[in-house]
């Protein structure tokens, strides 16, 4: 058995400030939204995160993944500080699993656009009732009672309907993202000149 030569470790990608902002701002914003921020707060904290990191002497860009993780951590800490200053107490919540999910759904461009595109496609596969329930909930901020009344089911039924729909969406999005990743890897392999 021969030792296969290891692939050389690519040099770290060093982005300028402008490139850093363009590359990561959408991802940070979406991550903050996942942590529960509304749009305005997410806007503010995204800017603050980027300013803080760029102004930091000790920030080093080892790799894109590391940079993204560091930016998320900074954003999260700023959110905690914001809540504390305002005297708001967060209930028990851990963002470590959220980081894992973000890593899966953020996509190659780290912005979450891939995940969002997959979600849009998966929505089309739901029944009309399920889609209506979700639209009322997320676009119109309808209460469960209002949704139940519209669909002529009980509130309990509404909750179950939306839970099942979200479960279905999650599975669909995961599947599509996995397919995308597999396709990407396959393309990468085909591009290698020395691939047998």
């Amino acid at each position: 058995m021969s030792d296969e030569p290891r692939e050389p470790i690519p040099p770290p990608i060093v982005l300028s400030a402008e490139e850093l902002i363009r590359r990561h701002q959408v991802g940070i914003w979406r991550y903050l939204r996942m942590l529960g921020c509304d749009e305005s707060l997410a806007d503010d904290l995204t800017q603050e995160t980027l300013v803080k990191v760029i102004c930091q002497e000790s920030f080093s860009q080892w790799s894109e993944g590391a940079t993204a993780a560091y930016l998320r951590r900074t954003a999260r800490n700023l959110l905690i500080t914001y809540h504390r200053k305002g005297g708001r107490i967060r209930t028990v919540f851990t963002s470590d699993p959220l980081d894992e999910i973000w890593d899966r759904w953020a996509g190659q461009d780290l912005s979450g656009n891939e995940g969002l595109d997959c979600l849009k496609q998966c929505l089309a596969s739901l029944t009309d009732r399920a889609r209506l329930a979700l639209r009322m909930r997320f676009a119109e901020d309808a209460t469960r009672a209002e949704i139940a009344s519209k669909l002529r089911i009980s509130e309990h039924g509404t909750r179950n309907l939306m839970q099942r729909a979200k479960q279905q969406l999650r599975e669909c999005v995961e599947l599509k993202l996995t397919e995308l990743e597999a396709a990407r890897q396959s393309n990468d392999q085909h591009r290698r000149p020395d691939h047998p």
Partner: protein
Amino acid sequence: MSGSADQPAEKSPPFSEAEERALDAMLSELFAAETRGPKPPRDFEAQVLTLVRQRSGGIGVGGTASLATGSERRGRAITLGAWASLAATILAMVYFWGGSGRSPFATNEPTITASGGSTGSDSSAATNHTDAIPKQSQPNRKPPVLLSGSPASVDSDHLGVAEPGPLAGQAAADGSRSTRPRGLVLADTASSRPIEKEFLPDDAGLARLNQQFAAYWQAIGVVPAASAGATAWSDRIADRFGIVIDPTVDNSAGTATWSDRDSSQQVAERLVAQLAIGLRLDPTALRRLTDEAADVIYRGDRFDAWLGRWVRGEFDSAEAPQPADSGSVAVKPDALGEWFASRLAGADVGCARCHDSPIDSRYIQHDYWAIVALFSSPAAGPTFYELKDGRQRVATPGVSKRWLGLADEATFANPIDSRETLGQLLIGNRQVARTLANHLWSIGFGTPLLAVASSPIAPPRDDALDQALEMLAERLVASDFDIRAAVDWIINGDPMRRGLPDVFLQDRWQVAPEVTLAEASMAQRSFAAARAHWPAATRRQLAAMMKSRSSDLPTKIGPQDTLLAQPLILTPPNRIPRDLPREPVASGDAATAKPEEYWWAQWMADREGLRGGWIESIADRDQQLRHAFYAAGFRQVTPDQLRLAEDLIGSDVAQAVDEQHRAVAKLYWVIQNGS
């Protein structure tokens, strides 16, 4: 695809809260775009670059920031670090050799270990210290006891360890204790003495402590909730203790930031509030006590010594009542007596005011009034009390030593007969340590670790819980009542790291079966799970809930057990404070929950698991209602309050036994949560 959303889904991996949160955020964005039309992608580049320029004075040529790679920064850091080290070394050498005339390596001179942290001064400099960090010999402490807590050391009848020997020699009698003079207060220094490492939580000690809780939960059949995660843990600590801990750093050793006085102030506020329950101090007096306590905590001084001063009356006013805002602690003697008994000695004296306690035979009416008499001013004359049959007795001032866990039953004939002596005996007392540890636990969890036996809604008692309290008390004693060390143990224990019960996540409690809610409630009450939102259970909270429902009058619990306007039971309209301090707004998982939603959710969980306890055994209905108030600490019950209590639980005497249990427990829960 796994099938239509209208059909029951096939079994798939459980949908975690984090996944649901992520999906919700994306759905919000997607539907918002559909509804409002696509928005241009967010672009903060211009704003961020402007801010960066303002803060750093420019980011390079042509507005392009140059962000160094790691290796470049490392190189710079090493060079700077080397120079800094060299400079520090040179300065140190100059200080030691130039200032003291001695090599820093000489070991035959005593070192000063005090809060200033200075070491290595020569003897002449030490004795000439007039800026008053007293010179101390190295404390002769015993090796750290890793929370041994063997069952043999816990005696439920004598909740402390007898301290033989004369008072003056109390410290010397126990050679294993510190030789630091007791009650010494480093009055002239404003800086914090670092907590000695041996008193900080260590892995083995924490493991022993956590074992007790694991054993307890197993014994009562409770499944603890999942761990909450570092951020939630630090949030909880910030909420309960007011201490800020950075969840992103390793907090395994010496956790809380005690170098910042704010932490001590926050803890002092809460601890003094706990200690002062029942005293009804005016705000100025409370503020004064709190500030003093904060100083004691910050400096790492003996908290028992400070309590001793309080008991001896150093904070009291003169006999004549003082005007309000005078800052003196002037309270009625019976309030003081009960305060000492319950808040310092940890005694369950709710019953003993009127009769011998039917729940705990240690607490008899005679002893209770003897304490009251001890705290009365001689000018007020003898203290009378009334027996159940109406006869009157004169109380002999004194405190039975068994209330402090000292000596044996025979000392009934030789009670402690002066506040001065009592204050001295508090120092180093294990019973006081247990009570303090219990107070700190109450701050962290909302309820004491070991509730009084008369509490109808306390979780089941178990030896393991008693062991855990004993361990915490032991740490307090070993550290010379350094409150900071005790707090560190509590915030690092397993219970503080537990998350919410699953059923409280999102809105699941709304549709959960009763048995699940009862299990969640039991887990919370036995510290195996966190309580939602963690606002302090105060009158103000429930009063705010009442206001939000725009209801002035109480109503009985109506259809679907709606809980309305309960605060009137607890706080008659003329006693509701005009300016309600702003409570922290508790934010929920995804949506923001109002305080009344929290109470409603908690009530839904608690109600099935509660029992009325000894209250329901009282045959007379009127007495039953009154005792629900007494058990919650009310001294007197007004006719209005009784009427409102009747409204709350209904007056149907033909209720089934189970219904009666629930009704009484319901009443007590409402009163307790509002007091």
